[in-house]
């Protein structure tokens, strides 16, 4: 169970990216985060694993307060939260398998991992995850030799290596074509349904929201403007979220 309470983030320049945001996510839910570009979706997701330090508010996860966690505690919290990015964020010059193994860095002894030594179980686990996302044959290729869709699968495999209880996906399909988008979303859905992993996923297309999300929250200029089921987004709500002039296409 993730509880976000009165979360506010003001960037150094004075931009208020999150404004007193409060919501809960029950365990195992697939939550979509929607909103215009610049509404604060990425900021929200990054506050949850403290890639960004929030200015005020509280984030409780299974009772632990993430906002006040010490660096040592943060390591233990982060390793249970996988993250998937719009631009995949793979290390291009490293092999696919190394990128996937990097998901274990929170679990292995730092001293050994610096020498590129991972336990044997981790190696076989990495291959298994690659198999699960359907690109086992690419394991020893360089990451930048893969297509966008394949790279995002590597990103998902890396998140899976963390044995996550929660996955934060920041527009995971925004740089992919519609067909690939569905196949990536299906992977997330399968992880959510089969492994019971909570998924927070920011999305731009409402049809994807309708198809995959259990619940939706919407941000507008940092404020939470909607919270509910995907089917509850009618024309009026749509205009609240996306502004007066927005045209509904999806």
């Amino acid at each position: 169970m993730l509880q976000v309470k009165n979360l506010t983030k003001i960037y150094d320049g004075g931009v208020k990216a999150l404004d007193n945001v409060t919501f809960d996510v029950p365990k195992g839910q697939f939550l979509a985060v929607i909103g215009l570009s610049g509404s604060g979706k990425s900021t929200l997701l990054r506050c949850i694993n403290r890639l960004i330090d929030p200015t005020a508010g509280q984030i409780l996860w299974d009772g632990d307060d993430i906002t006040t966690a010490t660096p040592e505690e943060m390591r233990r919290i982060r390793r249970k939260i996988g993250m998937v990015f719009q631009h995949f964020n793979l290390v291009h010059r490293s092999k696919v398998i190394t990128n996937v193994l990097a998901g274990r860095l929170g679990y292995v002894n730092p001293a050994w991992s610096l020498l590129n030594r991972f336990p044997k179980e981790d190696m076989s686990k990495a291959l298994k995850q690659l198999e699960r996302v359907g690109i086992a044959d690419k394991a020893h290729q360089r990451a930048d030799e893969l297509s966008g869709g394949q790279q995002q699968r590597v990103g998902i495999a890396r998140a899976l290596m963390q044995d996550p209880n929660m996955i934060l996906a920041d527009e995971p399909v925004a740089s992919l074509d519609p067909v690939l988008a569905h196949s990536i979303m299906k992977h997330l859905e399968e992880i959510n349904k089969n492994d019971g992993v909570t998924v927070l996923c920011s999305l731009h297309f409402l049809d994807l929201v309708h198809r995959y999300a259990d619940r939706v929250i919407a941000l507008n200029q940092g404020q939470l403007v909607f919270e509910g089921l995907p089917s509850e987004i009618d024309d009026k709500k749509f205009k609240d979220i996306y502004g007066r002039d927005a045209e509904r296409v999806g």
Binding site: L90, R93, G103, L105, R158
Partner: protein, 611 residues
């Protein structure tokens, strides 16, 4: 904006005129102080020496031939004696020469005709004064060139040495035999050019190794987010001197303990081979690969103990290794013959190990203590209540300030021998303590301070300052410090390599993609892991290319660093120029040109391969 620019303005014209005037004055002054004077170039004397030098440079002293020489001394009378000149028939079985006429007045021209000399030989034909045919004094500078039959004709103007007795004309004809050989200069040049290349190589390797860690500290994007609470900073500052002291003590104890065992090669061998095996097992146990759950406290302490023991054994191993190197080196030097340098290298390696082990030990212990105390500080300010943390901050920060300034004062005392403890001892300690207290009073107890940025700025400043000192100037300093020779050159070039590469490298670190960094951080990786998995793969190609570029510069620099006594070929070149031995200097310049262009080519090829 635009029409303001187009409006003609008297001020603008005056300004243009003034700028022009200033530029002209600066140029004139520049000419004056750099003594540009074309008249000088055209003067007769300059022209001649220019020609001489140019010719010498065109004939580098690289090859020479074995020579075969034949001499014949032909009689001649200067002023015909009364009663006519009587000259015996020469022995025509060997080389011989005939002077016609056999007598003449001073200033008259005679013809010397030679027969049976080596074909195509050449040499001087000169007048030998006095009536001794073995006299070594010769006058004149005619040269003769024999044809394929060994026959030559030369003309000679008789000098003003009239005499009643017979005098002589000597032809010294020589020719090259066999293949060309390298001259002594060529050998010396070769030796020094090798020294030069290795000087550059060592400086580059040492510089690169030290520049890599520095470059991470000098990269803003990595250091920006490093913040720690005051208690942690002060305690880890205190940890350094304590750790270094403990490290030196411990390593010294190990050294004393090792002493009796080092002289025996067998003991050396066994311990050098066995200890790594034991250590591997010990470390495997003490540092398990998984970090899934916190182990119980007892186990943690046991593991720490094993790690400490492993460190002791590790130092023992290093001393044994040094002993092995020295023993093997010493006993093999005699056997190796012309490969004796390998033995000497081993001895040097052993020596280096013995010297560096205490330093390594001190630094390692310093790092460990600092890290450990810093963690305690971190934990304390996270877990304890505000008031306690504040008290801890006050005490630790005052102690750290006093220690740092006290050590600085000690350094100043040691350097300048002031001898006034009030200024160099009590003063700094009190001031440091007060500064520390003030810092602790004015920061909130649990606030974090931007340690990373402070370290970043300090490192940057030091790097920039050192980088602005030319390598040649550094070489002069090192020549004073460690004496003339290649060692000073290696130190100077190495230091310059460290600072300039650290700067270039850190710029590369600052320009990496932030995405992978973010992704690796999000997995729970710690800072070091993030660097190894997200930063290093991105910077390998530029690091290689900058290293090659630096290697290029170092080869170039090492050729001239000898001018100030830093070893290498520059020393020889400068000597020969000062001795006006331009043919030798020319050989060395050619060697430099060849080496620099080869290195240039090699490095460009390698750079292409790497990127």
């Amino acid at each position: 904006m635009n029409d303001k620019n187009q409006k003609p303005s008297i001020w603008k014209s005056i300004r243009t005129g003034l700028i022009f005037l200033i530029v002209a004055v600066i140029l004139a002054y520049g000419f004056e102080i750099t003594k540009i004077d074309l008249e000088e170039l055209r003067s007769e004397q300059r022209q001649q020496s220019l020609i001489r030098v140019t010719r010498a440079l065109a004939q580098p002293d690289i090859f020479e031939y074995e020579k075969e020489t034949q001499t014949f001394t032909a009689p001649v009378y200067v002023t015909c004696p009364t009663g006519g000149a009587v000259i015996a028939e020469p022995d025509t079985s060997g080389p011989y020469a005939i002077v016609t006429p056999e007598c003449a007045e001073p200033g008259e021209t005679v013809t010397v005709e030679g027969f049976n000399f080596f074909p195509n030989s050449t040499g001087p034909v000169r007048f030998v004064p006095g009536n001794d045919p073995t006299n070594v004094v010769e006058l004149g500078n005619e040269t003769a060139l024999a044809d394929a039959d060994g026959h030559f004709v030369a003309t000679l103007v008789l000098p003003n040495r009239p005499s009643e007795d017979v005098q002589f004309i000597r032809a010294t004809m020589s020719r090259n035999v066999g293949a060309p050989k390298f001259t002594q200069t060529a050998h010396d040049t070769w030796e020094k050019i090798i020294e030069t290349v290795f000087l550059a190589l060592l400086a580059t390797i040492l510089g690169t190794l030290l520049a890599i860690p520095l470059s991470f500290i000098a990269a803003r994007n990595l250091m920006k987010s490093v913040r720690s609470p005051l208690a942690s900073i002060s305690l880890s500052t205190l940890g350094w001197p304590i750790g270094i002291a403990v490290g030196i003590l411990v390593v010294r104890m190990v050294a004393n303990f090792t002493e009796p065992f080092t002289s025996n090669i067998l003991v050396n061998l066994v311990s050098v081979v066995l200890i790594p095996v034991i250590l591997t097992f010990a470390i495997r146990w003490a540092l398990p690969q998984d970090d899934v759950a916190s182990p119980p406290l007892g186990l943690q302490i046991a593991r720490l103990g094993v790690l400490f023991l492993s460190a002791l054994v590790g130092f023992f191993w290093m001393y044994q290794l040094a002993g092995l190197f020295m023993n093997v080196g010493e006993s093999s030097t005699a056997l190796l013959g012309s490969f004796a340098f390998l033995g000497r290298f081993l001895i040097q390696l052993g020596d280096i190990l013995i010297v560096t082990t205490p330093v390594l030990g001190a630094l390692a212990a310093g790092g460990v203590f600092s890290n450990f105390l810093g963690r305690i500080g971190q934990r304390a300010s996270e877990k304890l209540n505000e008031g306690t943390v504040k008290t801890l901050n006050l005490i630790a920060s005052a102690a750290a300030g006093a220690t740092v300034l006290g050590l600085l004062g000690w350094l100043v005392e040691w350097l300048y021998q002031i001898g006034r403890p009030a200024y160099t001892q009590t003063g700094p300690i009190v001031v440091g303590a007060v500064l520390g207290l003030l810092l602790a009073i004015f920061t909130k107890a649990k606030d974090t301070l931007p340690t990373g940025l402070v370290i970043y700025y300090v490192t940057r400043t030091i790097l920039n300052t050192l980088r602005s000192v030319e390598a040649l100037v550094m070489a002069i300093v090192f020549v004073i410090a460690v004496g003339i020779g290649p060692f000073a050159g290696v130190m100077a070039l190495g230091l310059h390599t460290i600072v300039s590469l650290a700067k270039l490298y850190s710029e590369q670190v600052e320009s990496i993609q932030a995405g992978p960094l973010e992704a690796i951080t999000a997995t729970g990786a710690n800072r070091l892991q993030t660097i190894v998995y997200a930063v290093v793969p991105q910077i390998v190609p530029p690091y290689i290319s900058y290293t090659m570029y630096r290697w290029d510069i170092n080869v170039r620099m090492s050729t001239i660093i000898g001018f100030v006594g830093g070893g290498g070929i520059g020393f020889l070149l400068q000597q020969n120029i000062n001795l006006l031995n331009y043919r030798a200097a020319s050989a060395q310049m050619i060697a430099i040109a060849v080496v620099v262009s080869i290195m240039d080519y090699v490095s460009s090829v390698m750079r292409e391969k790497a990127v």
